[in-house]
Symmetry: none
Subunit: 197 residues, 4 copies
């Protein structure tokens, strides 16, 4: 640890944190305006007042840039409710708002499809998607530990059950969801996993 801290700054001019921020914010703003297909490295450079070299020095491809920018978005926040069903409804509701209210919702699906043909993208995207799901996994794990969900339940499985139908409806069907719909999804999906005390 000390070793790392001591690691000398490399020679030469250090990379500018300002440029990096500006680049990521420009990328994010393009993503938010028109989704992944609206992002152009030239446009990002122009908006951020940066050069393309500065961008590619940090991220090897456009996909990696977009992933880095995406990480600036607000993650799902731990709900304050008590019961697991209410917590899930709350967090899936947050998820649905993110998916349907801005073009940002489509970014991850588009990149996810590319994962299958692109190992390097796969490697970069995995941790991002994992971390994005962590809040809901945490809730579910806590519910299992707390005796609200049957022991031995796979948290990932529950997450898919709750998020999958909502994402499918928003992205694939291009239909809106409301809180009642989400409540219905969560209750139906989890009914057989709940320990009703």
């Amino acid at each position: 640890m000390t070793k790392e801290a001591v690691t000398k700054r490399p020679r030469g001019r250090p990379r500018s944190q300002d440029s990096e921020n500006a680049i990521l914010e420009a990328t994010l703003s393009l993503l938010a305006d028109g989704g992944y297909s609206a992002v152009t490295v030239d446009k990002v450079a122009a908006i951020a007042n940066a050069s393309k070299a500065t961008i590619y020095r940090r991220w090897p491809t456009k996909e990696n840039l977009v992933i880095a920018a995406f990480e600036l978005t607000q993650p799902l926040s731990r709900p304050r409710k008590k019961k697991i069903v209410d917590q899930l409804v709350e967090i899936v509701w947050q998820f649905s708002q993110f998916m349907q209210n801005t073009p940002l919702g489509g970014v991850l699906p588009v990149l996810a499809v590319e994962r299958h043909h692109n190992p390097e993208l796969d490697e970069a995207l995995g941790p991002l998607i994992k971390s994005r799901r962590q809040p809901i996994i945490d809730i579910i794990e806590a519910a299992i530990t707390g005796g609200e969900l049957k022991p031995g339940t796979d948290p990932e499985f529950v997450a898919d059950l709750c998020l999958g139908p909502v994402q499918m409806r928003i992205i694939m069907m291009h239909l809106p969801v409301n809180k009642k719909h989400i409540k219905h999804v969560v209750e139906t999906a989890c009914s057989s996993l709940l320990i009703t005390g």
Copy 2:
């Protein structure tokens, strides 16, 4: 019928069905090999021995061409099982095979994301996605009519519940699914909707 018979063929040389077939098959083969991003209008034209004008005469953009080609893929087939759960497991299994075994699985999600920024694409893609889901909708509706699922159940809702988690796992998580997993998804999702007789 008379109405159709009266609809005269328009003047002029009719569009060649052979060309159209060759174009769509070329597109489909590129899609199957490398997914949406592997499709190039020039490559399609070259493989199909067609000119780009012939392609653009039929479909206004590359997206529309891809949608038309995608319609040639085998739709999900009605399972021969009797019980609704078995039918759903069977058809979701077919869906999962399609999604995870070829690059074709990612085509619809990529286009679906674009729907949100592209009204014309939206219009073309809607019917395709709807028709793709029809087999599973049919099963569910039959089960409702047949008294296996609670009256008043929304078939679309059930379809999302069964397909969403599988698609999320395959596309977003890049994890495989097997029949046991699918059985688990279907049983968990539908348990509270079943009428156990």
Copy 3:
């Protein structure tokens, strides 16, 4: 002659003279509006309410169509002056008006350049250019016969001497000519060929 007259009309529907006229007039109007580069066979067909097949049945290429249309333009007319110099000034003036007042003036030069790489065009264009020059050749020949120009003078040579400088100024230099200029050209070019009586 009788033989030709007796030649039976070929079987089938005879070619429509109306179509032919409409096609040529459409071509000519496009030529007059924007010169050779503005002529498109599709546009001609649309304007003439004809089909492209009808056009290509009569003329093997676009160039030949343009040549045929060009033949509808008014040829240079025999001047009424008496003296050869005045006659030449008059007819070269007509030529200059044609060259500089409409895009038609550039049609023949463009086609003439193509002659050099295109034997079939060469064959079609030769007679047209020859016939267009005939009025001036006639004047010069008459002047030689009439003793105004030195015996043994080559009429083609004189025509080049009078027309060439004017065409070069209009087409290549994109400069206007007026009657005074033309008078100067003709007098200078012919001075040594005149027999001053």
Copy 4:
């Protein structure tokens, strides 16, 4: 001089002179092989190992590229003769060789015709044509100054008189010229302008 020295090189990577040379040479070689109509931007790019973007960055259209390439051709060279007539014969002979021996001869006429409908082309072509004529203009001006041609003679006028008939014969009539013919043209055209002393 200071002014020029002060003109800083602009920011960014400078345009590659090598690329530019390769592009122009490729264009020129295509021009020389098949004339204007044989030049294709894609072919130029392929031969020059350049991208189309690199071409279009320098010249806004194919026409402008061709003009730039044409400037690489050898200009007419000042003859070493003494007498103006001999000088003119010599330089018109050079001109005739250029016009009739390669497809390059037709390039300027084709572009010149387009001048009349295309103001931007007009602007680019004017200086080229002017500079191409400069050698003959120089000769004529020297002859006026030197007392061989009448004072007040317009050099452009004399140039048209000498070149026009030759160009018309080669391009429009598609007939060859030889030195005797050129001598005849020059002598006839200039006879009345000469100061025979």
